[in-house]
């Protein structure tokens, strides 16, 4: 494992316990994955294939049944609670539903200042206005509450909150699937841009191959909790080896139009 | 059988009665007196009580004689049997009396502590020997209800309560859990057979509900109507009977503790209270102002009473700020809250600082018994026999539950009174005791005697209520 390894997952298994039936369900079954600094890795797969579960377990925010996770050179099993908490700002998550990711009772400004209070040193690098400018929002947004923001605006605020921490790894869980196409393009641009400037790594979860193709260097294809194919994006998407990947590609809408372009 | 429809139908030979509470148990040995109205139709006391509340020879015991100071000999009516065939003889009386005296659960236990032995030399002779002389043994026998020894032994208190058997004018008929209890005429009664074929007792804790039941013709007699309901019943044209009861409401002063250990303060409190105002203002005249403690019989008043004198009360207090807690049993007696408040208001007027302390009846009794209370508590004396010793033993002796006035002298006087040959001879001593407690030491501020009211439906006649909470149904006719 090199110095620059941001995330190393080995044989990760996550089992969920279903509330009602109390039966366990294996959402992730033996996944290994390694990410170097600056890597952008896309995770694709059908709904329920365990993408979110994988990401949450990888960052130590979600449950894990077995397997080893090495986050920024720290073995998650060996970390005390406090150490884990200190490590956490290094990894930030952007979720699909931007409104659900913001406390409805907190204005954008007070959300920022809470983060600043939590991590004074880490967040001192930028002021609110500038931070918002980075995600192409005006300072007037500062005094707004989440319900006063549009989906795109709210998602930008979420990204800004993630960037504020200057994380070394950003996990984006379908950050644009709730958004309009045109807004989606904006947000993706933004993500690309800020990654370029901060040098953070990105674990990008999506079911949209085209989006992944635009954002990620490497891609992991998941099916039923297992990785069926992984490799550089262009290689996997242009020359798929696994049936499922092929099926995914074939199902992509707009092939007719793309082909004709 | 027919009992299923009994509550609903009104018929000429059924009398439907609504009581204020479900009779707790129909076992007279352990049962509270509130159930007496019901069980007394089936079971009879050893001695019958007349309208003057004195013993009569018309009951199971037909004659008595005080053989000597300590020995009484009674003659039982001959040939009386319980409805199950057991003979109601002297042996049965001895059995009942021994249970009354010896069982821990016996409700009358404390009244029979003086009895040394009960004997039945023959079937109709009962001999009672007492430790100390006691002239009112005959009266006390009016509270003892005769139960069949074998049957009681066999069934136990639970079984007996479920189907009581006695010598009375009625036979236990049926009990419908929680709804009613019915008794039917005893064809083999030793005396005159009852007029009405059947009595059905039901109950409702709310007075207005009892009246409503009567007015909507669901029952024929509604017992225990407080003044407000008596007025209403009157207005509704019902036949209301209001009788002065023997129940006395008394304010007790705990004179062995502050603040009433100061005689002036106690006197001031006694002088502050205007019982006529209470009777008029709260009861609209439907209560009787009562000035004494030991005047057991309704309609009697002692010669010396304390009358309200506000000026003097204030003078005695001399501007002192005295705090008086007033405890009373919430909800236990008619309008007791208002009475407590009115008394409190009067004390306040005299210059006392009043604090109310309402509690439930059981706690009040426990706290009085435990000597936990100070100041004033309002409480009722409900005699089941019209003898002054009831109140003396209950309240005036130093070993009594209240213990607020007792002293060796009063104990001696009490002993002396009860050992007199008869009531007349004892009267003077009781008058003196009453004066000590009420007038001199102001341990008691007697307030009023309740007027017991009940109403009957059209055509119901001859429901005879006795102030000792007994009702004679034998002559009742319906419609």
């Amino acid at each position: 494992m090199s110095e620059a390894t941001v995330l190393a997952i080995r044989d990760l298994v996550v089992e969920h316990r279903r509330e009602k039936s109390r039966e366990t369900f294996r959402a992730v079954g033996g996944v290994s994955l390694e990410m170097a600094a600056g890597d952008t890795v896309g995770v694709v797969g059908e709904s329920g294939s365990g993408k979110t579960t994988l990401a949450m377990a990888a960052t130590g925010l979600g449950p894990r049944t077995s397997g080893k996770i090495d986050l920024l050179g720290h073995d998650l099993d060996r970390l005390s609670r406090r150490e884990l908490r200190r490590l956490r700002p290094e990894v930030q998550v952007v979720f699909q539903d931007p409104h659900g990711s913001l406390d409805p009772r907190q204005s954008v400004r007070s959300g920022f200042s809470e983060l600043r209070r939590l991590q004074p040193e880490r967040t001192a690098w930028v002021d609110d206005t500038e931070l918002l400018a980075q995600v192409r929002l005006g300072p007037e947004v500062l005094s707004r509450y989440p319900h006063q923001l549009s989906g795109g605006q709210a998602q930008r605020v979420c990204i800004a909150r993630a960037l504020l921490m200057r994380p070394r790894l950003i996990v984006a869980d379908e950050p644009t699937s709730g958004l309009d196409v045109s807004v989606q393009a904006d947000v993706l641009d933004l993500l690309n841009e800020s990654l370029a400037s901060s040098g953070a790594s990105l674990l990008f979860i999506s079911h949209d191959l085209a989006v992944v193709r635009n954002v990620c260097d490497r891609v992991v294809v998941m099916l039923h909790g297992e990785v069926v194919e992984a490799g550089p994006t262009y290689q996997v998407l242009d020359d798929p080896q696994h049936d499922y990947t092929r099926k995914l590609l074939a199902a992509m809408p707009g092939s007719r139009w793309r082909a004709s372009r | 059988g027919s009992s299923d429809e009994s509550a609903g139908a009104s018929s000429a030979d059924t009398l439907r009665v609504v009581l204020p509470a479900q009779p707790a148990t129909l076992d007279p040995i352990v049962g509270a007196r509130s159930a007496q109205v019901v069980w007394a139709t089936v079971i009879e006391p050893l001695v019958a009580t007349g309208e003057d509340l004195e013993p009569t020879d018309t009951g199971l015991i037909t004659a008595w004689e005080r053989t000597d100071d300590l020995t009484w000999t009674f003659t039982l009516r001959e040939g009386v049997t319980f409805s199950n065939g057991e003979p109601a003889d002297a042996a049965a009386a001895v059995n009942t009396l021994e249970m009354v005296r010896d069982l821990d659960t016996s409700i009358l236990k404390s009244f029979w502590g003086n009895a040394v032995s009960f004997e039945a030399p023959d079937a109709t002779t009962l001999v009672i020997t007492t430790k100390a002389p006691q002239y009112d043994v005959v009266n006390q026998l009016g509270t003892v209800y005769l139960v069949p020894p074998k049957y009681y032994e066999e069934k136990g208190t639970e079984g007996f309560a479920a189907a009581p058997i006695g010598t009375g004018p009625y036979l236990f008929d049926a009990m419908r859990a929680g709804r009613d209890i019915s008794v039917k005429r005893n064809p083999d009664y030793w005396g005159d057979a009852a007029e009405t074929e059947k009595l059905v007792f039901s109950w409702s804790p709310e007075a207005s509900q009892r009246l409503a039941l009567l007015r909507s013709k669901s029952v024929d007699v509604a017992f225990d109507l407080p003044p407000a309901q008596q007025d209403q019943a009157d207005k509704a044209g019902l036949d209301v009977t209001a009788t002065e009861s023997a129940m006395k409401i008394i304010a007790f002063l705990q004179t062995d503790k502050a603040p009433f250990n100061d005689p002036d303060v106690a006197k001031a409190a006694a002088l502050a209270v205007d019982r006529d105002k209470i009777v008029e203002g709260i009861f609209n005249g439907k209560a009787v102002a009562d000035g004494g403690l030991l005047n057991v019989k309704p309609g009697t008043q002692p010669d010396v009473v304390v009358e309200q004198d506000l000026a003097k009360a204030k003078e005695l207090l001399a501007g002192k700020s005295v705090e008086v807690p007033i405890a009373y049993p919430a909800g236990q007696y008619t309008n007791i809250e208002e009475v407590a408040q009115a008394v409190g208001g009067m004390l306040t007027e005299a210059g006392f600082k009043v604090k109310y302390n309402a509690m439930d009846y059981g706690s009040l009794v426990t706290q009085i018994g435990g000597g936990e209370l100070d100041g004033m508590y309002i409480f009722a004396g409900v005699p089941n026999v019209a003898v002054p010793s009831f109140f003396v033993n209950g309240f005036m002796r130093s070993a009594s539950i209240t213990k607020n006035c007792g002293s060796p002298e009063t104990d001696a006087m009490a002993d002396e009174a009860v050992s007199q040959p008869d009531a007349a001879a004892a009267e003077a001593i009781y008058d003196e005791l009453n004066e000590i407690g009420v007038v001199d030491k102001n341990c008691y501020i007697p307030l009023y005697r309740q007027i017991y009211g009940y109403a009957v439906a059209d055509g119901v006649k001859d429901v005879k209520y006795s102030p000792l909470n007994a009702v004679d149904f034998t002559d009742v006719t319906v419609g």
């Binding site: 956490r88 979720f95 009772r105 909150r161 921490m165 | 407080p226 709260i282 919430a330 909800g331």
Partner: protein
């Protein structure tokens, strides 16, 4: 069983009748204001009025003038606008004094139930695990006990007094509240912003204190206002059974029960407090409803 128990409150909490479609949110906010206003005015009135000296002493007895009718009836006089009670006390003055205590009982009674209830509910809902299991069982058990019997038994032992009344209200009111707050806390815990805060290194305590509790405020306030009505009704029921507020303290419930006896010849003794109780409970229920709707995230968003 936990599942149903958890499922019910969310729904019963949302059991609101004044729920307006989401496009009328603003109406809702103003309606909250207009519903709260009379209550506040009433509270101010019952506090201020006795200070003005216009009213009689509510405990002043006059046994010579009991059950005088209100001024607007034959035989009434304006010195006692609403008539007099069983000891000749001025009903208006009693109504004001009773209002003070009744509102006090309502609000404090709600507070003592909602406070612990919320804390317990949040603890269970947020901690999950065995803490949740234990608390849930206790909540279930508590809910299984007939509350009026608890109330009566406690009062029977401790006597009726304000502290005991509050104890009773707390004992009987915490569980339903805990049940609701537990399920809300549970769902808040799963919200993504909580995850985000955790990712930012916030401690669980901070998340609960700064984010979970504030987001519960609306629910709690709404529950509380409904509990105010419950407390008032419970007090009046206990008074009716002779185990509520006892003289000389005056509550509407106590007035109601003392007027019960004389209903047919002096209806005013019971009628005014009865109306007052109904009106106030109605108002707090309306307010609680409006708050719940106002607070319903589904109706709030956007």
């Amino acid at each position: 069983m936990t599942d149903t128990i958890a499922a019910v409150p969310a729904e019963s909490a949302a059991a609101t009748m004044s729920g307006a479609p989401r496009k009328r949110r603003r109406t809702n906010r103003t309606s909250v204001f207009w519903l709260a206003l009379p209550l506040v005015l009433l509270a101010v009135a019952v506090i201020v009025l006795p200070m003005t000296g216009w009213l009689h002493d509510p405990n002043k007895q006059n046994l010579d003038n009991t059950l005088a009718p209100p001024a607007f009836l034959d035989g009434g006089s304006w010195s006692h606008p609403l008539g007099t009670g069983r000891l000749g006390q001025d009903i208006l003055a009693q109504l004001v004094a009773g209002g003070r205590l009744t509102l006090f009982i309502g609000f404090v009674g709600a507070l003592v139930a909602i406070g612990p209830g919320t804390l317990i509910g949040v603890t269970a809902g947020y901690c999950r695990g065995w803490v949740d299991v234990v608390i849930s069982r206790v909540i279930d058990a508590q809910l299984a006990l007939p509350f009026i019997l608890i109330a009566l038994a406690v009062i029977a032992n401790r006597g009726s007094s304000l502290p005991v009344l509050f104890l009773v209200l707390a004992l009987t009111g915490w569980a339903p509240c805990a049940r609701v707050t537990r399920s809300v806390a549970m769902s808040l815990r799963e919200r993504q912003f909580v995850m985000g805060l955790r990712a930012a290194g916030a401690s669980e305590l901070r998340i609960v204190a700064r984010h979970v509790l504030p987001n519960l405020v609306g629910t709690v306030v709404a529950l509380g206002s409904l509990q105010v009505g419950t407390a008032i009704l419970v007090e009046s029921a206990l008074s009716f059974l002779g185990m509520g507020i006892l003289p000389p303290d005056i509550s509407w419930g106590a007035m109601l029960s003392s007027g019960q006896d004389v209903l047919s010849n002096a209806w005013w003794v019971a009628a005014f407090p009865g109306l007052a109780i109904t009106a106030v409970v109605l108002m707090v229920n309306l307010l609680g409803d409006a708050l719940l709707t106002h607070n319903d995230p589904r109706k709030r968003r956007r």
